[in-house]
């Protein structure tokens, strides 16, 4: 780090600590934590890729049962997609508001994120219940087993995300926007955005290609 930057106070409290010999010490905690969480997200995506691969292999094995073309309702799926996309947007804005210490906007953003995420989950559950009621449950065919494990795992991630979100909002209310709270919220927002990326792949491979 240049000495000018330190002298001008541009480095900020979280910037890399100078060691006095012109070189720099370890990276700030915020950077290390977010990078570690990014590695976790990538490994999570690799886990999903195994289920994507099994779905792609098994999607034609319907055991003379219903195929994706008979089962999927794209209007329903479109609303789910919009819910998740807008919740990603409001989550990003919420974190942005917290960084600028605008707590009201932060709570509004995260309330919207929760509402949209819960709507997504409700729609997905109603789809699952409808499929099982029509006799197209996970035990009907290899295609449906793969479908329920892949889409269900994503739904389980969204459920965990909603719990995490509620916990983080409560923690922000109790402890204020301190460094460790903001780091956890940053990790949560990365998690939420990653779920949206997985949904894009899921929407394309499972629903859009399957409904044709």
């Amino acid at each position: 780090m240049s000495t000018q930057a330190i002298a001008a106070g541009l480095a900020g409290p979280e910037a890399t600590t100078p060691r006095g010999d012109g070189r720099v010490g370890p990276a700030p905690v915020r950077i290390v934590v977010a990078y570690g969480f990014w590695l976790f997200l990538l490994s999570d995506i690799i886990m999903f890729s195994a289920l994507f691969a099994s779905y792609a292999v098994l999607s034609g094995q319907t055991a003379k049962g219903p195929s994706g073309h008979d089962l999927f309702e794209l209007r329903h799926v479109g609303i789910e997609t919009l819910c998740l996309l807008f919740s990603s947007y409001t989550c990003g804005l919420g974190v942005l508001a917290l960084e600028r210490r605008r707590l009201t906007f932060f709570y509004m953003g995260f309330a919207l994120t929760f509402a949209l995420g819960a709507t997504f989950l409700g729609l997905e559950l109603s789809e699952f219940v409808g499929l099982v009621a029509r006799g197209a449950g996970p035990s009907r065919s290899a295609f449906l087993s793969a479908f329920f494990s892949l889409v269900g795992l994503h739904g389980a991630h969204v459920t965990a995300g909603l719990l995490w979100l509620s916990f983080m909002v409560a923690q922000t209310a109790a402890r204020g926007p301190r460094d460790f709270v903001r780091r956890r919220l940053l990790c949560f927002s990365l998690f939420w955005h990653a779920l949206d990326i997985i949904w894009v792949a899921l929407l394309t491979l499972v629903y859009l290609m399957g409904a044709r």
Binding site: A5, W38, S49, L85, G92, T204, L208
Partner: protein, 127 residues
């Protein structure tokens, strides 16, 4: 701020989503706009005959990959700057593993299917 420091030294790293200038209302809104356009295009391609029908899966794959790129850049702030090297390298390794798992499974299973005796012939042999 990290960006400012990074410009001077070049050895200071950035993490996904970190950085004052990388995330702003305009970035997120632009990302949302691109994502909406690409999602709309995906639904349109899959529901109409706008594209030559055998090319539709390829078209959908291209649109999906483009949208994932938009999400990475605008929401997760994975950019191409020198302070973003670690993040991009980790992403590249993740993509390599994902490609190996997905393409490898499809390749192997397609060949297994091709080499498999039809079920009726197996039944015949068991008599």
């Amino acid at each position: 701020m990290e960006h400012y420091v990074g410009q001077h030294v070049g050895s200071i790293d950035k993490a996904p989503g970190v950085g004052e200038q990388s995330g702003s209302l305009a970035t997120y809104t632009a990302g949302l706009g691109f994502a909406l356009l690409l999602t709309g295009a995906s639904f349109m391609v899959s529901q109409t005959n706008l594209l030559w029908p055998p090319g539709v899966p390829a078209g959908l794959a291209v649109l999906a990959i483009a949208q994932m790129g938009v999400h990475l850049v605008f929401f997760l702030h994975i950019g191409t700057g020198p302070d973003n090297n670690n993040n991009v390298l980790a992403l590249a390794f993740g993509l390599l593993v994902v490609t190996l798992i997905v393409a490898g499974s499809l390749w192997i299973m397609a060949h297994l299917n091709a080499n498999m005796m039809p079920a009726s012939a197996i039944m015949e042999m068991q008599r």
